[in-house]
Symmetry: C2
Subunit: 390 residues, 2 copies
């Protein structure tokens, strides 16, 4: 790494504060270990081996990923128990089998009977669906996805339509492990009180434990009972019956997580470094070189505070200073009082807190790591890589 301080970095750049990262990692790790629940961090947020290694310290190393590119990257980084958390399709089975033959317990999820049948067929040595390629008795590990109220993927609870049919196909198939059930209470993101989130967490728990109990009551083992989002992991009051939690964004946190109460304002580890590129006093705005690509067009935090725009300015010299509009490489920075332009000359730098860290980070291939406890976050102390794409 050639850059010595953040003033030497090209802009826009993605800045990670290691001191905050470490606090965020420890808080979640301690909380779940104290609760007797294993942490399977969702590394779709960080997409970084270095951060993944720190995240699983004190736990057994299991992780979650959202793409096969992440699965391959983390497998190369030494991770061996990996849950691919997006509903699988038959065309992805050859890639999964290839990693499994290398000793990686890459597990997958589905909520679909036809997919379960395709997995069973592939494992029993029949031809691969779609490709015609021969599959000589692969092994697979599958979790059945449950919808605990978020309305994304999964069999809706309490009806759990087709659960036993899917489970029996997987349980009976030679070479296939029905590893358990999983859910993600994404609707926790739309509550902003501890009580509101705790209620979603209890709903999540009842759904996933209820699904596990339905399997067991029918003689089908269900070792893994997997739940979790950052809000429910932070505010759940009862983990009874849950074996693992899969929070993701807690590693960095962001404006959205701060507003819903998953973290405090000082817990945001990720920011975008940008240069001021123009002054527009006639409309009380400056432009910065971080726009739609550098910040993303995710505006999830506006649900709770519209004036955050596409991201807020750190240590802003004017009230409610934020990126209020974006074009591809231009960010329009406004404020609710006159901007002191002399404090922000063209060429000066600002840091911008993102609405949604997972989406913003995906535009970058690396983190420039600083440490606010070392020197206020001035020096670049490390560079971590990321795996993007699919």
């Amino acid at each position: 790494m050639s850059a010595q301080t953040i003033d030497d970095l090209p802009t826009p750049a993605l800045i990670l504060d290691r001191a905050i990262l470490n606090r965020n990692l420890k808080r979640m790790s301690d909380r779940l270990r104290d609760a007797g629940v294993m942490l399977r961090p969702h590394l779709k947020t960080a997409k970084s081996i270095e951060i993944g290694r720190r995240a699983v310290e004190g736990h057994d190393g299991r992780i979650t990923v959202s793409t096969l590119a992440e699965a391959r990257y983390f497998a190369e980084g030494g991770f061996t128990d990996i849950l691919y958390g997006v509903g699988v399709v038959p065309s992805k089975l050859p890639a999964i089998a290839e990693l499994r033959r290398q000793g990686i317990n890459l597990r997958m999820v589905t909520d679909n009977l036809a997919v379960a049948q395709a997995v069973a067929a592939a494992a029993t040595g029949r031809f691969w669906p779609q490709s015609g390629q021969s599959a000589g008795g692969e092994t697979f590990s599958v979790l059945i996805e449950i919808d605990s109220g978020g309305g994304r993927a999964g069999l809706p609870y309490p009806e759990l339509p087709g659960l036993l049919d899917i489970a029996r196909v997987l349980h009976k198939a030679p070479g296939v492990e029905l590893a358990g059930v999983m859910t993600h209470a994404g609707h926790s993101y739309h509550h902003n009180t501890p009580d509101g989130i705790a209620a979603v967490a209890e709903q999540e728990r009842q759904a996933i434990v209820g699904a596990a109990e339905k399997l067991r009551a029918n003689g089908i083992p269900c070792p893994i009972v997997s739940a979790g989002s950052t809000p429910t992991a932070m505010h759940s009051r009862d983990f009874t019956g849950i074996t693992e939690m899969r929070p993701g964004v807690y590693v960095f946190n962001d404006l959205d997580q701060a507003f819903i109460g998953s973290c405090s304002a000082g817990d945001l580890a990720l920011s975008v470094l940008a240069s001021v590129i123009g002054h527009y006093p006639h409309r009380n705005q400056v432009l910065v070189d971080a726009g739609a690509l550098a910040l993303s067009k995710d505006i999830s935090a506006q649900e709770f505070k519209p004036q955050v725009g596409y991201g807020t300015i750190v240590d802003a010299p004017a009230q409610d200073m934020a990126v209020i509009a974006c074009s591809q490489e231009h960010g329009f920075v406004g404020a609710n009082e006159p901007i002191p332009f002399g404090n922000l000359p063209v060429g000066s730098r600002v840091r911008i807190l993102p609405n949604h860290a997972c989406i913003t980070a995906a535009a970058y291939d690396r983190y420039y790591v600083v440490d606010s406890e070392l020197d206020g976050g001035k020096s670049v102390v490390d560079v971590y890589d990321r795996i993007n794409g699919w």
Copy 2:
């Protein structure tokens, strides 16, 4: 390239229809050549050498870029007249000088007097601003940015505050070429009639020609008079005084461009290939493996048709079938009538038209190229790379 047809591709994947691309390129190239205006395509959309080469056929090879990463990439690809179209800051001058020393006429833009002074200082051999690095008499080429009504960067017309001060600094500085003036009528994106866009185009023309005339009236040469967006390039009725146009998204077009009338529904060259990963008949939805990262969260086309969501399904089996919500890797596909789930089994593939091609494409490192005139777009006939990041 190993894949033979799009059925063999991993999903999500970015699909480019070469037949439509070629029609789009020819339409714009012919239109501007007939008008006697040079085409300087904005390659921030395509970010591809192969597409850039095709785009400048019949013109003199000048291009526009939005990042220094693009500038380096296109310079390596043989392009020598490159306009970096985002307001420059002093910390970027060393990288620009490095390319210029290699024979690349990398031009920059500013609307700021302090930046103009920094450029002049760097060219006359004084120390680099900010870095302390010695600059032994560099040459630079600068265009002054004008705001023709879009309210993004540029000196607002007709006031043009400070124009002559900036121009004189640049014009007098040894080693600095004041190459001209440029503007981008981004507000053309919010009109959806030919007359409305033509009115914006005329406003854009009057502003940029007015700025050029003001310079010339004061004895300052202004060879380049640069304007252009895709809508104004397509609908302008008078290019008098403009020397070059910089449209970008026309190479692909997208839902937004179709709705505002820059192109027809059959002119959309870019789509995202996705797999159906789940069926949710209780809420009349399927999920696909293209979510916020694969599609982007850009919803610009919703200004004219809210039901397009995050992208519409090509050859959809139900009315108004679109990605109505996104999480990171999940796209929620809904419709305004019951979805025939049997026509979209889990594992089947759909193609999704994006709201804004520039932003969607930025998630991918390559285009899988098909040709609808060859075999309906079934075979993968080529792969083009892209340059992302900064």
